[in-house]
């Protein structure tokens, strides 16, 4: 019998704790596959966030650190500056990266820090029970915007990919989604490109990945994928926002 698919080397055998229909698992696997394909497992150091992915250090079969909320890019900076030939990546959610960690991410990008950031945007705080995030859409109901997010009260959603693409230090910025097989393939390409951007010393790289949270959205997994397509993609257009050639 021919083996056509196997668990990536860069993942451990631990079972994911994520909710049914959550796309964190897919994204973990894509990262692991890219690291394997680039032969970087033994050369990589990953930093996990505070959020649903806080336990990601149990899933990646490589050197891992767990960061304080929002600080992963600063920790990655410390590591990368001391060990410039290592492949250093952070894995962050939207509360972690776009709210409490806004300072760290913007400056890591502005400095052209040679790290790769995997930014999982699911429009709310998942782990703490579905509170409003900076990425929550206008009108979206969360536990802290129970009548729907209003501009008057909470302003507008932050578009991180567009924001960071402005920085000279950003070498590769893309936004993808994992709602369809085609988009999953595109996401993997983007992650690989981000890691390659880092390994080629071009500068800062980030892939913003639109992801689902069926549990906190109150939808079944299929409807959640539909909701992502109908509501998130129009507000958060997919594509490459920055590709620095040299």
């Amino acid at each position: 019998m021919k083996v056509v698919a196997t668990r990536p080397q860069s993942l451990t055998n631990a079972k994911f704790h994520y909710c049914p229909g959550c796309t964190h698992g897919i994204i973990h696997r894509l990262i692991a596959e890219c690291i394997d394909e680039l032969d970087q497992r033994e050369n990589s150091i990953g930093i996990c966030p505070v959020g649903c992915a806080v336990l990601a250090y149990e899933y990646f079969n490589l050197d891992m650190l767990e960061a304080a909320h929002g600080r992963a890019p600063a920790i990655a900076t410390g590591i990368k500056r001391i060990l410039p030939d290592r492949c250093v990546f952070t894995y962050q959610g939207d509360g972690d990266l776009a709210s409490i960690g806004m300072g760290e991410i913007v400056h890591a990008s502005a400095r052209g820090e040679k790290i790769s950031v995997i930014f999982v945007n699911n429009t709310l705080y998942g782990m703490t029970g579905g509170q409003m995030a900076p990425t929550t859409l206008i009108g979206q109901v969360t536990t802290t915007s129970p009548y729907g997010r209003t501009v008057e009260q909470a302003g507008y959603p932050i578009k991180m990919a567009e924001l960071l693409a402005q920085n000279e230090g950003s070498a590769y910025i893309a936004r993808t989604a994992v709602n369809t097989p085609a988009n999953v393939v595109k996401t993997k390409k983007a992650i690989k490109k981000a890691l390659q951007t880092q390994m080629n010393n071009k500068g800062f790289s980030m892939v913003e990945i639109l992801s689902t949270c069926p549990t906190n959205w109150g939808l079944n997994p299929i409807d959640a994928l539909k909701w992502l397509e109908e509501n998130m993609i129009p507000n958060y257009p997919l594509g490459e926002f920055k590709v620095k050639e040299e």
Binding site: R41, E42, N43, S44, I45, I47, V54, L55, Y57, F60, N61, L62, D63, M64, L65, E66, A67, A68, R71, A74, I75, A76, T77, G78, I79, K80, R81, I82, L83, R86, C87, G103, E104, V106, H107
Partner: protein, 346 residues
């Protein structure tokens, strides 16, 4: 050499390869010194966007097993506390320098010792300690930087050097220390898992059992540090009835005051804690029998005072003299010593 330069040079001589910091008076010369030196000797200097970022860069740098440091002052050290708590829990060795100024709030840039509680009680959230060294001269600023890194590596613990702003700013001659060339192995470092199992640096413990076990582990380490590393200097203590306790530059001022009042027949002596945590309890304990009174002299409203009282445990009176925003002069301290001596019949 300025005190700030001496502590920076000491760190370089200790093999410190990375400095991550944010400017704040009166500590900025440390960052400036590293910014000048490191590009020439292959170290990493990075001015962070915030104190939070700086301490987390230290977290990352220390996780690679390399000696790294940061420096700041009062308000900046407060901002760093989140990171210090994480670093203490993750058992990462590093150096944090606090060239302290007055508070609370923005306070002032004047010298102070009012961060004593913050430093000796851990400082951030959770149950932990860091080692705190208090130098009293520019020479010790250099010497303690080396001691700090040795202690940090030995016990896998963050070490703080805390000095009054005056000590950072003043100049004294310094005998340079030799470069440290031998370092302990750090098999726990996250450097990429080539040829070994992956390392994980983590501070999360979701079950009560593992969290309690972790805390007990940390505190057994602290007990060992307490037993082995408590340090103090004593001065004219043998026959002292008035025992002054003072740390940092303040202790030198007290020394001069003691010489002054000794000329007038007052039997005064000094205990100068060098490690503020662990507090050198034994030195106090040994003196309780001969002392008629302890006097804590600090540049704050009375913080170390509480540690002295805990050790003395009511056996003799403990008095306090403190100023805010200034290093009191020997003349002023001598006056206080005479006042206390007269009152206590010493």
């Amino acid at each position: 050499m300025k005190g700030n330069e001496a502590v920076a040079e000491g760190a370089i001589r200790a093999g410190c390869k990375g400095f991550f910091g944010y400017p704040i008076t009166p500590s900025s010369e440390i960052a400036e010194y590293m910014a000048r030196k490191y590009p020439k000797i292959g170290g990493i200097f990075l001015q962070a966007e915030s104190e939070l970022a700086a301490i987390n860069m230290v977290y990352g740098g220390a996780a690679t097993g390399v000696r790294v440091m940061t420096a700041s002052s009062g308000p900046g050290i407060s901002l760093k506390q989140e990171g210090i708590s994480f670093i203490a829990e993750a058992e990462l060795p590093c150096l944090i320098v606090n060239i302290s100024r007055g508070g609370p709030g923005l306070g002032g840039i004047q010298p102070a010792q009012s961060d004593y509680f913050q430093a000796t009680r851990g400082g951030g959230h959770g149950d932990y300690h860091i080692i705190v060294l208090a130098p009293a001269s520019v020479q010790e600023m250099m010497d303690f930087a080396i001691d700090a890194f040795e202690l940090a590596d030995k016990y896998r613990i963050p070490v703080m050097i805390m000095a009054e702003g005056t000590l950072g700013q003043m100049m004294e001659p310094v005998i340079p220390r030799k470069m440290v060339t031998e370092f302990v192995d750090k098999p726990w470092a996250t450097t990429g898992c080539r040829g070994r199992q992956p390392n994980i640096i983590n501070t999360l413990h979701l079950t009560p059992e593992s969290l309690e076990k972790r805390n007990i582990h940390l505190f057994s380490k602290y007990a060992e540090i307490k037993a082995k590393e408590s340090r103090a200097e004593t001065f004219l203590l043998d026959d002292a009835e008035l025992v002054v306790v003072a740390f940092g530059l303040m202790a030198r001022v007290v020394k001069k005051a003691i010489m002054e009042v000794r000329r007038k027949g007052v039997k005064a002596g000094l205990i100068r804690p060098i490690t503020l945590w662990p507090f050198p309890e034994e030195y106090i304990k040994r003196t309780i029998k001969t002392a008629k009174i302890f006097l804590s002299v600090e540049i704050n409203m009375g913080q170390m005072l509480e540690d002295i009282k805990l050790v003395v445990n009511g056996e003799v009176p403990v008095d306090f003299y403190g100023r805010i925003g200034v290093n009191p002069n020997p003349e002023e301290i001598a006056e206080q010593l005479l006042r206390v001596a007269e009152r206590e019949g010493i």
